[in-house]
Amino acid sequence: MSTDQQDDQGEEDTLVNVADGVDHQVAMVMDLNKCIGCQTCTIACKNLWTEDGGSEYMYWNNVETKPGEGYPRGWEDSGGGWESSEHSDRSPGEIPDEEDYGRAWEFNHEEIMYEGSDEPLRPREGAEWGPNWDEDQGAGEYPNSYYFYLPRICNHCTHPSCVEACPRSALYKRQEDGIVLVDQDRCRGYRYCVEGCPYKKVYYNTVSKKSEKCIFCYPRIEGEGPDGETFAPACAEECPPQLRLVGFLDDEEGPIHKLVNEYEVALPLHPEFRTQPNVYYIPPFAPGQHTEDGETVDIDRIPRQYLRNLFGDGVDEALDTIDAHRQRVRQGGDSELMELLQDKNPAKQYRLEVFDDE
């Protein structure tokens, strides 16, 4: 939250810190406790946006197993982001290679379907890595192994280092809602954005020779579809367990603002990259560890330090807050927080028209 903004602009202004020159900031909260790793979001996104030539390897939305290498492999150590919270010096980054993303495999459909082969259906060769290769592998030893799923899209950051990395200003954060876009007319395929994004959520199209990324389904939220209705991004709407809330960070009546700024239970991924993401996560809970006899003991199954590495130091307080509210409800009390986290009313989950009258 910014107190500066309040001081500068008077008391009517929002408490929420949105980027300079941006009217409102779209945001998403994903509850990791609800993710079942089904990849419906991934496929919904792929079918809409990345089916054409050159984008086969791209998953603007992916779901990876944590702990794990992620997509692209090793992205958390690939550099990018900012050196300090001054946002003046960027950290250098690397462009992942095809193997890190995972190539599209060729399968032996031809042999099996038309040539009478008895082989099992399988990739021809080179199937040594791919997105989600280490699915459900996780970490820890039986009976205390653990993992959870981490769905990822572009964070549409408040301080996007991809935008700053482009020497041509081909990437920009649009004024009305802070969505970060690549102007396909300006892009010349230099890929400084690809290496500059610490989340590796900008991709190079090998056919168009330009970079592409998640567009937060802006035609859907603008109601550009055939029926003129506003829809949340496809990854959110198609999610079977409906784990995503979509709206504006500065919509103070909305659940996102409450979860992020009031209860502080929704946290950005890797805040140390200092890009200030606008996608937030409810950190995962797991049962306590088991003894060899099968008794549950009061030791975190998912090491707390691992969660701190992912979501920052705020994760301790976030988990404690949620725990306290669960206890309260268990004992018959009321909790707005628990209601927010369990709401199944789409009108409350997706608040995309609150600023339409401006």
């Binding site: 462009i95 020497p167 200003s169 395929g189 090998t206 056919v207 020779k209």
Partner: protein, 296 residues
């Protein structure tokens, strides 16, 4: 000795030598020597060394030079243009690998041909993988030839017209008014042909650009100019990750379309002063010898 007589060492040397010879012969020899010195000092730089940033242009009425291997190129003088890393804010801007480009140019009645040749061991033609970049080369002219734009992609009020070729995109004609503003023309009027030959350290790229002399539209350089035409060059080595501002570039050079050698003004001025000084020294010396001999 008269008060006005010079007493510099050259005089005493000459005097010692001249006393052994005939008086008139001394004067003639001295005059010839002085003349030679003057001619050589004034003429030498104009004949043997072009002004540093001039790139010669052969002017012929017609020529068939569009191909890098066209026979006619053998007759065209070449300039070695040194390249260095462009000042740029992009990462690794100092890491460039091409150090020189050979430039030839021919202007016919209709077209300007520019041939560029440089060593590059790898033929990088594709940008079809996430980490793959193509080799590229560019020639930069002022869009408006009346003044010289800033070397790094021109300026907002002083644009540059760039002829660009890369292994992956082919030929593009660009307009820029400062770093980051580069914009392709929709219908390029520049032609380029490229070939890569040889292997290893001797492997060479050769690219020939040509364009009609008349400016095909606004913001395109008029090549029919009679004045000096500013020109600069850039080369990218794709396999070294070079793209954008990570490139090897030249300083501004010029094609002397005005005809005849023209160095920068200070150079002419210096040589003129030197010539006058030499003539004066020889004159005064001769006068001194004459007076000395006459007095004996």
């Amino acid at each position: 000795m008269p008060a006005s007589g010079p007493s510099w060492p050259p005089l005493s040397v000459l005097r010692g030598w001249s006393t052994m010879t005939d008086h008139r012969r001394t004067l003639i020899l001295t005059a010839v020597l002085a003349g030679l010195i003057v001619v050589s000092t004034v003429a030498a730089p104009m004949v043997s060394a072009r002004p540093a940033h001039e790139i010669p242009v052969s002017e012929v009425s017609t020529a068939d030079l569009a191909e890098p291997s066209a026979d006619g190129w053998a007759e065209v003088p070449a300039s070695d243009v040194p390249l260095s890393s462009a000042p740029s804010s992009v990462p690794n801007a100092d890491d460039t690998s091409i150090e020189t480009v050979d430039v030839q140019a021919v202007r016919t009645d209709e077209r300007l041909y520019v041939r560029l040749e440089w060593h590059d061991a790898t033929r990088d033609m594709n940008a079809s993988a996430t980490r793959e970049f193509a080799d590229a080369v560019a020639v930069q002219f002022p869009a408006n030839t009346s003044s010289r734009p800033p070397i790094a992609m021109g300026g907002p009020d002083n644009r540059v017209n760039v002829w660009y070729w890369s292994g992956s995109t082919g030929t593009q004609e660009l307009l820029a008014g400062g770093a980051g503003s580069t914009t392709p023309f929709e219908n390029p009027t520049v032609q380029a042909n490229a070939s890569h030959s040889g292997t290893g350290g001797n492997a060479t790229w050769t690219v020939v650009y040509s364009r009609q002399l008349d400016a095909p539209s606004e913001n395109r350089t008029d090549l029919r100019t009679d004045g000096d035409l500013d020109v600069a060059f850039a080369v990218w080595n794709g396999s070294n990750g070079e793209r954008s501002g990570q490139k090897a570039v030249s300083e501004w050079h010029y094609y002397p379309f005005s005809g005849g050698p023209q160095g920068p003004p200070y150079e002419t001025l210096l040589w003129t002063l030197a010539g006058i000084a030499i003539v004066a020294v020889v004159g005064v010396t001769s006068f001194g010898i004459y007076r000395t001999r006459g007095a004996e």
